[in-house]
Amino acid sequence: MRGRKVRVARWAAFGLLVAALSVVAAGCGGGDDEGGASTEIEGLGTSLEEIQTLARDEGEVNIVQWAGYATLVDEFTAATGCKVNTKDGATSDDMISLIQTGAYDGVSASGNASVRLMTTGDAAPVNTDFIPNYADVQEGIKNKDYNSLDGQPYGVPHGRGPNYLMFRTDVVPEATDSWDVIWDKSGPYNGKLSIYDDSIFIADAAVYLKATQPDLGIENPYELDEEQFTAAVDLLKKQAPNVGEYWPGDVAKQIQSYTNGDSVAGTTWPYQYVQLTAADPPVPVKAIKPKEGTTGWSDTWMVYSKAANPNCMYLWMDHMISPEAQAAVAEGFGEAPVNLKACELTKNANHCAEYHADDESWWEDVYYWTTPVADCGDDRGEVCKTQEDWEAAWTEIRG
């Protein structure tokens, strides 16, 4: 009898616990949907001097970045008293997840992350009065739709670059100028292709189809309707068995496979190209923007709206667009700086020219990463595939 009472009591307690947890879980969960146009972050100073003082108290800043972005860190720490801890993100989705854990103060967001962060309120608008170097940023990059809302800047531009086609010149003809070596003409290189492991790569397939199948009518590789999307996904599914490696933002993996010859052609960031050509002995690779154009990215440093160290983050943002840091990262990563004063400081005097920092026409067929949305933005209406669709398709493509 006592055993039964005990049993009933136990089940009742368990049931209560379940109910309590349901209430808790129902009340919580999901993101923060306070948009807020205020640049106020708890703990942020109200003047530049106050920010600098508070930063010394904070003593550290935790940043999510693309591999290789943080430069002149020691100089920054010496000048501001903020220790820098970086975490490399593999993909934009990865970066958003990391920011949403609440453990980081800021992120170098590409377009396909920045817009979402602005919408969810995880990124806070910035008060550019507190960022002296902001004045020197190229006008053409300010107040774009991926780094601002209604004229209010939500971050500080970092730099931009294309996703290159990189190939080993000892295997692939040096004169190659088209993406077809990883799509239709990948025959001799099957099993040795190196492809970026993220759903955003569907846009690269779309870029190729834009040139090779014009009757699909693809204009913007991120706004794909049913027909265009299916064509891109089919192309990727055809490519999948030939891919030697899908590299998930782990640049060391791709660098090692190109060095070993396990990969001979694929898509890459300028950083790997710089590392491979600077290696000892240098690896024979060439990286180009093919004639069909390419995807690319224009990145923005954003501060987390609930950052624990907002003052250090503001100082960091100012640091990364200073001419010295811009010059260092532009050459170290292989991208175009956004503060053209850096052009005088680069070791290679021609860096800015080579990387087209000031040549807007070169960027016309570089399609910056952005989040696919249902609204096609033209007369097709709301029939385009969303980020959700892209994610689901990518899982299927990977098999």
Binding site: V24, A25, G29, K87, D88, T101, A103, A252, K253
Partner: protein, 284 residues
């Protein structure tokens, strides 16, 4: 020896093959710690010890090592307390749900780390976040302790089943209170089991990476530092140095633990006795 000579030779061969399989990759890791080049090519062309000094001077390595040690100590302590309490309850009492407890204790180590990690992270962000709890050493310890409890629990419960409760009862009959019984009778019996469990729990926590990725926030334990550094092309050799260092240093505690545990070994088995006693013992 019951086994025939042929069997023994075959066994020795099989054991040798397995040992070789285990240790060749570790030796390769050791060799790469002395590799001069940054890229891991084979065969190794140049040898050098320069990465050792780089590693020793790296502040992040020391911080990560410290955090890992603290987390492992914390997780092992939690595991010791919870595991001992639970095993004492299950070994000595009969009650409804006894089997379920063993099941529930094993589950954290049996379920994939990514599930545990995701679950804990979701809880920390959604449920504990609003309460002001954030990622840090505590969340790391909690994450590790979930699967460390079972190794202590298993060892202690096996030992308690083997020793039986009669000595504890006798102690109570002689007038000892709970604490005295525990201190003078129960604890000495389970000491080596606790040691074995603690050592294994420490090792599991020290090496854990998947659950830690989800529960550490911006902090870096040693495995997380290794994970981040392996992804940085210029710093690969430092990782091999650190790995070699950990392997070599850990010989010390493992060796001493094995000596302390005596010939019964770290698996917590009682020393081999006569055949009949042993056969009685074999019954759970």
């Amino acid at each position: 020896m019951v086994e025939s000579r042929v069997t023994r030779i075959l066994l020795r061969l099989g054991a040798g093959v397995t040992l070789a399989f285990i240790y060749v990759p570790l030796l390769i890791i050791g060799l790469y710690a002395f590799n001069r080049n940054v890229t891991q090519a084979w065969p190794i062309e140049n040898y050098s010890t320069r990465w050792f000094s780089v590693a020793f001077h790296d502040e992040k390595v020391r911080d990560a090592l410290k955090l890992s040690l603290l987390a492992a100590l914390g997780a092992t302590t939690v595991a010791l307390v919870l595991g001992t309490l639970a095993s004492m309850a299950v070994a000595r009492y009969r009650f409804f749900g006894r089997e379920v407890i063993t099941f529930a204790v094993i589950l954290p180590i049996a379920l994939p780390g990514i599930v545990t990690g995701l679950a804990l992270q979701a809880t920390i962000i959604d449920v504990l976040g609003p309460l002001g709890v954030s990622f840090g050493l505590t969340t790391i310890i909690v994450g590790h302790a979930t699967f460390c409890v079972v190794v202590v629990y298993n060892n202690v419960i096996a030992r308690m089943r083997r020793t039986g409760g009669s000595l504890d009862e006798a102690s109570a009959d002689l007038g000892a209170d709970n604490w005295q019984t525990f201190r003078y009778v129960m604890f000495p019996q389970m000491r080596t089991a606790l040691l074995a469990g603690a050592l294994l729990a420490f090792a599991l926590s020290f090496d854990e990476v998947i659950v830690t990725i989800f529960t550490s926030g911006a902090q870096q334990t040693l495995p997380i530092w290794i994970f981040a550094t392996l992804a940085r092309p210029a710093q690969l050799p430092i990782v091999n140095v650190v790995a070699l260092f950990v392997i070599v240093v850990s010989i010390i505690p493992v060796y001493f633990a094995q000596r302390l545990a005596g010939s019964s070994g770290l698996t917590g088995e009682r020393p081999k006795q006569g055949a009949i006693a042993a056969s009685i013992e074999a019954e759970p």
